[in-house]
Symmetry: C2
Subunit: 257 residues, 2 copies
DNA sequence: TCTCATTGGTCTAACATCAGTCCATTGATT
DNA sequence: AATCAATGGACTGATGTTAGACCAATGAGA
């Protein structure tokens, strides 16, 4: 007979003896999102869309890439072939060959943003709160801990890169800026989670026209975040980041209204 | 010839044209941590160790559990058989049968904590900062948004459960309290990440003796966190959570000194 | 012009995982 | 004592995935 030694609150809906559903759901959530092929395609597309491999850039050699992704070379090649057939990459043989990212992705048509937002549904709110938690937390850790000279330099370089970006490069460099903040916090789990959530929002972000007015606005906010981080002021960093992210969140949520 | 249209800062170490390594590493990280069998065992052990299924409690039926974990029933059964052979679960056939968690896990011997901490190495710092980001972010979101009556009730129930816990139940109920904070923030990604990081720290936590003095100290801090959250005061919630987590972090980091 | 290191292309045999089906057992309920 | 719904146990055939070895092409550099 089960002893059932424990708390019992308002949890009647639970299918088994333990906790409330959301926690159980979190622990007993699916072990894998799909098969190896699908997940590999997803990752490679993420690398392209996030600009980790820029247009014209080359992916690591198949053997290296397969090892990095923890997938057999055959599975990787199937994924690459899918991207090739979709026109996202171009493959060249021989030494100095490799898998190259083809030109910039076509600009999504207007109305695409709304459709995608509706597709995401509740996942949009999920991603937006998760993003805020991660990025706000990252800048606070960063501001509290302080940066090395090399880190300051990298951060400033990313900042000027966004500010001086051509319109077609803007999203990529904005992504780079935000993920750099996360990565400088020094936790690889944090970096991975930030990259993941950015990826989820990225299609939506890309579907929004890049307006000069918004860019200027973001530039000021980016500047404020960097200044607070470099000044070692966690509170200011938090406030500046919240303000910046709330702006984007409001914009995205607008497509659901 | 690659166009290489983009920023180029102090990133010479990168193996390919794109970004600095940590971001590329995050996007091109392994698609899967292990085979389905291993990951399933990991999850089931997590459910036991986190107390999602308490001692004497029953796991969902194999068919349901397999569906939840996104794994075939055969793979799930192999994992369950492994847990059974390790003595963690007991399987009974027939109606009202199922897979039951056997008695409480044996208390780890002293010195175990240090060994585990050394095993984790840099992953410990990773987990600790990630945890802080997630949980601090969660309480801020929660305090800022406010709670429904049912949520207040659940949170208070978890709090009193920890406070009145028998020593052998303390860790389980402490876990429940912390994860409830994360789950009330309303982002399933956040809940999953919090459960994941707690799982990573859990062996370490369990290897630390539960001292009355520490419990009393934690109780005060838990109280402060809940009060701030219920009062809708994000700043107070943040400060109280940081203080609480720093205490635990210092304790754990102590095993590495 | 030739070399050759590096890269993509291909194949095989072994193993992992899957969906689906049917059987065996149990014990609360009738 | 008999019923029977829910549960674990076992099997099959199909598909996904892997490691490793070997071939083919390329073009910068000697």
């Amino acid at each position: 007979m089960p002893t059932d030694a424990g708390e019992r609150a308002s949890e009647s809906a639970s299918a088994f003896e333990g906790w409330s559903d959301p926690t159980a759901d979190a622990v007993l959530r699916p072990v894998r999102a799909g098969n190896a092929f699908e997940e590999t395609v997803e990752r490679l597309m993420a690398a392209i869309k996030l600009g980790v491999v820029p247009p014209g850039g080359r992916f690591p050699a198949e053997r290296d890439l397969a090892a990095r992704l923890g997938v057999s070379r055959i599975t990787l090649r199937e994924a690459l072939r899918a991207l090739q057939q979709a026109g996202h990459v171009e493959v060249r043989r021989g030494r100095f060959g490799g898998t190259f990212v083809t030109g910039p992705l076509p600009a999504p048509e207007p109305g695409e943003a709304r459709r995608r937002a509706e597709d995401m549904g509740p996942a949009l709110d999920d991603a937006l709160t998760f993003r805020q938690v991660l990025e706000v937390g990252a800048v606070q850790v960063l501001a509290a801990r302080g940066l090395t000279d090399a880190q300051r330099e990298l951060l400033l370089a990313r900042l000027t890169a966004v500010d001086t970006a051509a319109p077609e490069d803007y999203r990529r460099l904005d992504t780079a800026f935000h993920l750099t903040l996360a990565e400088l916090a020094g936790s690889s789990s944090l970096t991975a989670a930030a990259a993941d959530v950015r990826m989820r929002l990225n299609d939506l972000l890309n579907a929004i026209p890049v307006l000069d007015r918004n860019i200027a606005h973001s530039a000021v906010q980016h500047q404020a975040i960097v200044e607070a981080v470099l000044a070692g002021d966690p509170d200011a960093a938090r406030l500046a980041t919240i303000e910046h992210l709330e702006g984007t969140a409001a914009l995205l949520r607008g497509f659901l209204a």
